[in-house]
Subunit: 327 residues, 2 copies
Amino acid sequence: MIPPVELLDFLRKENKFIVATHMSPDGDGLGSAIALSTALRKIGKEAILLCRDSVPQQCKFLPGQEGFITLEQFTVQGSRFADFRNLILVDCNDLDRISTEESQISNLKFQTSAVIDHHESEKPFGDIRWIAPEAAATGLMVFYIIKELGVEITEDIAINLYAAISVDTGNFRYENTTHEVFSVAAELKKAGAKTHAIYRELFESWSEGRFKLFINVLNTLERKDGVAIVRVTKKMFEETATSPDDTEHFVDFPRIMKDVKVSILFREIEDDYYKLSLRSKDDINVASTAEAFGGGGHKNAAGCRIRADFETAKREVLKAFRKVLPA
Amino acid sequence: MIPPVELLDFLRKENKFIVATHMSPDGDGLGSAIALSTALRKIGKEAILLCRDSVPQQCKFLPGQEGFITLEQFTVQGSRFADFRNLILVDCNDLDRISTEESQISNLKFQTSAVIDHHESEKPFGDIRWIAPEAAATGLMVFYIIKELGVEITEDIAINLYAAISVDTGNFRYENTTHEVFSVAAELKKAGAKTHAIYRELFESWSEGRFKLFINVLNTLERKDGVAIVRVTKKMFEETATSPDDTEHFVDFPRIMKDVKVSILFREIEDDYYKLSLRSKDDINVASTAEAFGGGGHKNAAGCRIRADFETAKREVLKAFRKVLPA
């Protein structure tokens, strides 16, 4: 995988960067952004890490995560960042993934924008664009950028990139895990990434409340042909003192069943308004279904929102999948 | 990792091998044995695959597994194998891991024996011994043997070796996952191992009944300090049309909670009689607790049986752990 010359030139030539990742950030977005900004600083640049939301608990171990500022802080301290005019979007490819609020976005005043992303659904944003859907993780793309910049993969960079790759490959479980992914993992391990500890932090540091939420969610399991549906409600969050962040990975579990081809988590945002996370096996494309509902994502992992009561939303989605699933 | 010259010479010089793995075989034992015998055949040797027990369901996808014969078949067809006088033990290092029955072992008539294993507990068996506890899997050792023999890693060999490594590293989760493991995984992937499909076969082929049993078991969760307890009853097996085999790995799940140091599954064998599976993190020794109840095992994975009603059994076990767990 070779980063575009234009992108490398931009990183080498400019001096002050805002490195931003998507709202509701995950290990790939955060780890990639931190690793890139760390590498940029090592070649004498200045970089600000920006994310609408704060770093979720399971990513607090990432070295450098404390450098993130929220969009709110960015706005308040605006004058401090007045001369940061180069924006790099990491693990997303449009400003609507940075924030849904127009006022927050308008505070981002930039001259040149670059996009480094591996998501399939593309929007035409960015002066310099590197979008590689074949990359398992944005962390993999950032690894090659850092190599091209001639920066040594330090232990801190290795931890961030390994976390990014681990999250987006389901720790080497998913189909996107290429031989390149394993080779890069070998190099990150050699560079000092304590991979078992990273796994524990990312996947096995649940609070008791989260585990109870998990049980509550599993109890809602419904099966219809090859589709498994689970559901999380606002009430469940209240009862277990948890938040939407805590549902990460829940949608993966029903796939453990041999006959389940598609797994869907319905998360209640407000009354009659649901956020759906969709996961599939093999050739079943959930991105196209998500797009049909105004969302997007990858072939085997996508998301969308539906404004309807649960039964209606479920019926609509199941109807969409009847066309997609083999009988 | 470099295989001993003596072992390579033995494999090159001799012509007829019995390649045997341990009873209750797993992916590492089976995959390693199949890969080795496949490679031996490619350099013109004859190899018989031997295991006391039949290949378990989750390993039936391994190409070449159909070549295994059981000790019983081996005994019955004895004359067919009369001139196979070279024994290779794979993923174990003593005949007592091949079978506990003296009569079965005595049918194994061999001149020279070799041992290829990565287990720590060593017995002084074998004329030629390669025991490497630092190897994450025996599959890794066999990979290096095959390379030294100059045999190409075919797709079939790659699948077997990848499965071996995946099982024994918990799919790259455990602490034994070195950078070498990742490098070998990269090479196996390049050689055609469909790693995602292998993961699915090994870890994600649960029946719907098993998943329902899993939910039922999680619903029994109780927490007391650092100990998590879940329970499976005869009634649950009946209701979900499952069997005790289906509870494999269940006890691992409560460990996903950060504050859980010990996880215990109580399985009802009959009224007021329970089989306990115990798992722990880090330095907490569950083997000693299991031994106190007449059981045994390893530091982080042990088992025992208790004849009492559930509440009494639970009270006794929790009492035992109060001494072990840090306050």
